[in-house]
Amino acid sequence: MNLASLLEIATATHPGMVRSHNEDSIAADADVGLAVLADGMGGYNAGEVASGIAVTLVSSEIKKALAGKRPEELNGRSLELLIGEQAARANTAIYEAAQREPQYSGMGTTLVVALWHDNHLIVGHIGDSRLYRLRADTLEQVTRDHSLLQEQIDSGMITREQARYSPNKNLVTRAVGIEPQVEAEVHSHAVQAGDIYLLCSDGLPDMVTDEEIELTLSSLKANLPLAAEQLVQQANDNGGRDNVSVILVRVRGEFPARAGWLRKIKSWF
């Protein structure tokens, strides 16, 4: 099934106010119902290389795997495995490139992959790039960062409020391409018509509070490209200390894999 009529996508990416170049990479395809975002790290241009490999590889391989398949031929579990496999492949590709080329040594990237299928969203992530959901004007963080800070919060050592002021926001505990193997955290979530999903690099939540993100998305949801631009602008107005990338996806209607009898009858005409 082609999801283009049911998903609306807007993207924006910016190097920020301090960095000379943008190490984030993004890709989105409404036909397939796929969005991929990666935030690279590593010296010189290695960060861009790592995030570029991850986004290109993951998005093209997932598209290839889904090409020509009817939605009812796929199931959620197999798609979860597909995302996990492709994240692992990207890991191997980046890790090997880093071993081979001295200038890429130590490069890595975060990754967040979102795939819409059968009224569900399957999301896989590694690192501190996030996926949020706005439903009924309420913002909720769907992914949980793989970061030192999140571990400190989980262990009760610091509160969320204190976390805002922590100096080590930028330390991730899981990344693509750093170790020979990595596992993506993959979950499936039920989707409702009207949901708006936000994929973003840490440059957004580090600079803009969740309350402000919620206000922006709920005020500007009628104009997704404006909302995307506005989020990037807010991050930059607040200092823009890091690259910032956002992908916004609006779910216009339901997309069940098996068409109901009504739709089947309609399709005869």
């Binding site: 050592m157 002021y165 602008q233 607040n238």
Partner: protein
Amino acid sequence: MAKLILSLEGSVIREVPLDKERVTIGRKPQNDIQIENLAVSGEHARVVTILKDSFLEDLGSTNGTLVNGNPVTKHILQNSDVIEIGKYKLKYVVDATSVQPGPQAPAEDMEKTMIVRGPVGARTAVPPPGAAAPAAAVPAAATPSAAALQILNGPGAGRELAITKNLTTLGKPGVQVAVITRRPQGYFIAHVEGKAFPIVNGKTLDAQAHPLNDHDVVELGGVKMEFFYKAK
């Protein structure tokens, strides 16, 4: 490396380097910092140090722990914080060699995402190169002076709408909506939805955000509003 300087009534008793992950404070002898005073609980508090950060935790002590005069249960220590336990004071001092770079230091290397290898708190946690990053809060953007809109015509004429948020939407959803954004450099208006675009001083806007100046007249769905700064 950071350290704690223990003192009683102004005279220094000893210095304790925070050279291990957990440094405990209490009356019982097994504590790293033993304070023999009845106001101090057996196991009173501890300082957990991870990378360059130290966290103070009160361990449910009877008489509590103060930092800079305020009672705390958990606290991220900042350079020169003074911890008070009974009559004793412990000053938290970050050593000159690892002192945090000032705000003038380039933010370049600090916000970069970096990987910590292995299980955190064990094995080889890799600290970021080039010392600790400054405590970076989400900075509040500088806001321009307060502004408002006053409705000039129609049934609501004379009503004033204060602009108190970074985003203020105007109009009817589904019909015509515009947004006023508050930015460090001033206020801007942009079209959000609807066939008609907002009009400023008689000129119809395009898709671009348009800066608002004092006493500009905004027209939206036939309603005219004057934008003005409340305080100069």
